[in-house]
């Protein structure tokens, strides 16, 4: 028997780790690509529109009637951004004596106060030493008329 092969013999390497290759098992459809593909743009996203800052945005449910003048009704969904710096005129979620409240942030004689948007409610004023914590700024509300 001839021991020397007339061509190089490639032997399998024993003990080497297997090389894993992807297997393309999917069928590839043939045909003309749609001409509309060139004009595809991303569909509008409500999420991106209402929530530019995902990390700092929280959804909060409005309760009561103190902000009806601003169009915020009981049960409305409020989009609240904790990351924004509140300015006078903003609608804010604030913490007063450990309780949450949603009101207009306002300046009265150079002092911050919280103003409702309903004449039946009183403005919350702060005395010396009392603390007003702004939890977040309400950037929009979502009202659903039908689900």
């Amino acid at each position: 028997m001839n021991t020397s092969a007339p061509f190089p013999v490639i032997k399998p390497v024993v003990g080497s780790p297997p090389v894993l290759l992807p297997l393309f098992g999917n069928q590839v459809p043939a045909g003309f690509p749609s001409p509309a593909d060139d004009y595809l743009e991303r569909r509008l996203s409500l999420d991106e529109h209402l929530v530019p800052n995902k990390n700092s945005t929280f959804l909060v449910r409005a309760r009561g009637n103190s902000m009806v003048g601003a169009g915020i009704f009981d049960g409305d969904l409020m989009v609240v951004d904790k990351g924004l710096n509140a300015q006078p005129g903003d609608i804010v979620v604030a913490v007063v004596d450990g309780e949450f409240t949603v009101k207009y942030l306002s300046l009265l004689n150079g002092v911050f106060c919280l103003k409702p948007a309903n004449p039946r409610f009183q403005t919350i004023e702060f005395k010396e030493g009392q603390e007003l914590e702004i939890w977040g700024v309400v950037t929009s509300t979502i009202k659903q008329f039908r689900r």
Partner: protein, 424 residues
């Protein structure tokens, strides 16, 4: 390269306080699954001497005396808040290693040494402002030192305002500071190594820093030698950046009440397998085998004890819930013995790899694979939309008698439409 370790203060308690400001300034403790032990303590609770892991029944008297507020753990909420914090932190460095749910390392390349503290302050303010979660920042040349710097920042030992940069301290100041910190505070020095070091007369951080690395390696291991080098500012532990896929996925829980039948155990195992498979698909991986385990309650010494686990190989690496659940249930049948009161079960997925690198099986049709993937995609989408468990394998059960006891859990403020924060 300087490394920052950013760590959330009393993370679980802080998460609860974001949505419940009344808890501010009050002693608050978060209890583990089944309302067992303290897993997070507010500073007020720490001051009362309550230790980490202390069982609730042991502190109930103290709680009554001081009005300690106990909450069940709300891991859904903590998970979301953690994701927000980590995402904000990722904006401060392109080298981020998320080390745990509430801490991460950041590589701080390209900053002038004198600007590091200010950068740390920026990080701290951004997280606090955007999420309401307070954090501390430790900055140093190695991971071990930055952990230590964070400890100092938390305790207010060096610098104030929650940021501590060891680079700002002179050698004399460092030496003095390290002499005041017990060796057990060092990352990687556990109780066992700590007590052995103490016997050798090495009781402080400074003493270990001054120890001969060679000698330490002989007495302990390369790991502890590395710690000594890291304490001396020689980086030995690299940043492990995101993108390293998990090597294994474990889902297990203790039961709310002991479980005795294979039916109830099967439900739990199927449920854990389902959760694990979802995580697997999220990573874009497949598993090649899994391990199922069951055990009784080792703390009930009077009861008969039993624990067993088994590894079940999958015929083909898969992320298909149906395949993983049936393999897990087959494993459970092997390990189950009647006559025991089971306390815990779990499923561990092993041999994970990217789903695109799987070799085809002779008997598995590629089309089956595609169909399975499509099926799982739809299942994940529905569950994401309608809430976890909206669609599931029937084997996970409907009653779930084994479910956890969580009597004082806060609402899922950020993940459930019906549990949003309400403000008037």
């Amino acid at each position: 390269m300087p490394i920052a370790l950013v760590d959330c203060n009393n993370f679980y308690v802080s998460c609860e306080r974001v949505f419940n400001p009344k808890l501010e300034g009050k002693p608050v403790v978060v209890l583990s699954n089944n309302d067992g032990c303290a897993v997070a303590r507010s500073n007020e609770v720490k001051a009362l001497g309550v230790k980490m892991g202390e069982p609730w029944f042991k502190m109930e008297k103290l709680a009554k005396q001081h009005g300690i507020i106990a909450l069940s753990s709300n891991y859904t909420l903590y998970g979301d808040m953690s994701a927000r914090v980590m995402s904000i932190l990722s904006e401060f460095s392109d080298q981020q290693e998320v080390y745990s749910v509430d801490e991460c390392f950041l590589g701080l390349n390209g900053f002038a040494p004198e600007d590091l503290v200010e950068h740390g302050q920026k990080i701290l303010r951004a997280v606090r402002k955007q999420t309401g979660i307070p954090v501390c920042v430790g900055i140093a040349d190695t991971k071990t030192l930055s952990k230590l710097a964070n400890h100092c920042a938390k305790k207010g030992f060096a610098g104030s305002d929650g940021v501590c940069d060891f680079g700002r301290l002179s050698e004399v100041q460092l030496s003095k500071l390290f002499s005041s910190i017990p060796v057990g505070e060092i990352w990687g020095v556990g109780r066992q190594i700590g007590s052995k070091l103490a016997v050798m007369g090495i009781e402080t951080v400074e003493a270990l820093r001054r120890a001969d690395p060679e000698y330490i390696r002989q007495q302990f291991s390369v790991v502890v030698e590395r710690t000594v080098k890291e304490l001396n500012g020689i980086p030995c532990i690299e940043l492990e950046e995101a993108g390293t896929p998990r090597q294994q996925i474990m889902v297990s829980r203790s039961f709310g009440q002991p479980v005795t039948t294979i039916e109830d155990l099967s439900e739990s195992v199927a449920y854990f397998a389902t959760t694990a498979a979802t995580k697997l698909r999220k990573d874009g991986s497949v598993a090649s085998s899994l391990c199922v385990f069951v055990r009784t309650n080792p703390f009930k010494e009077k009861e008969a004890q039993y624990q067993r686990s088994v590894v079940v190989p999958l015929s083909q690496p898969s992320a298909d819930t149906a395949k993983i659940v049936s393999a897990a249930l087959a494993g459970l049948k092997q390990v189950f013995r009647a006559g025991f009161r089971y306390k815990k079960s779990g499923v561990l997925l092993l041999g994970l790899q990217g789903k695109d690198t799987v070799q085809a099986d002779l008997f598995d049709q590629p089309m089956d694979q595609a169909k399975s993937e499509a099926r799982m995609k739809i299942m994940d989408q529905i569950n994401q939309k309608m809430g976890k468990g909206a669609i599931t394998i029937a084997a996970t059960g409907v009653k779930q008698r084994w479910a956890m006891r969580r009597e004082r859990k806060s609402p899922n403020y950020t993940s459930d439409w019906h549990e949003l924060l309400e403000v008037d």
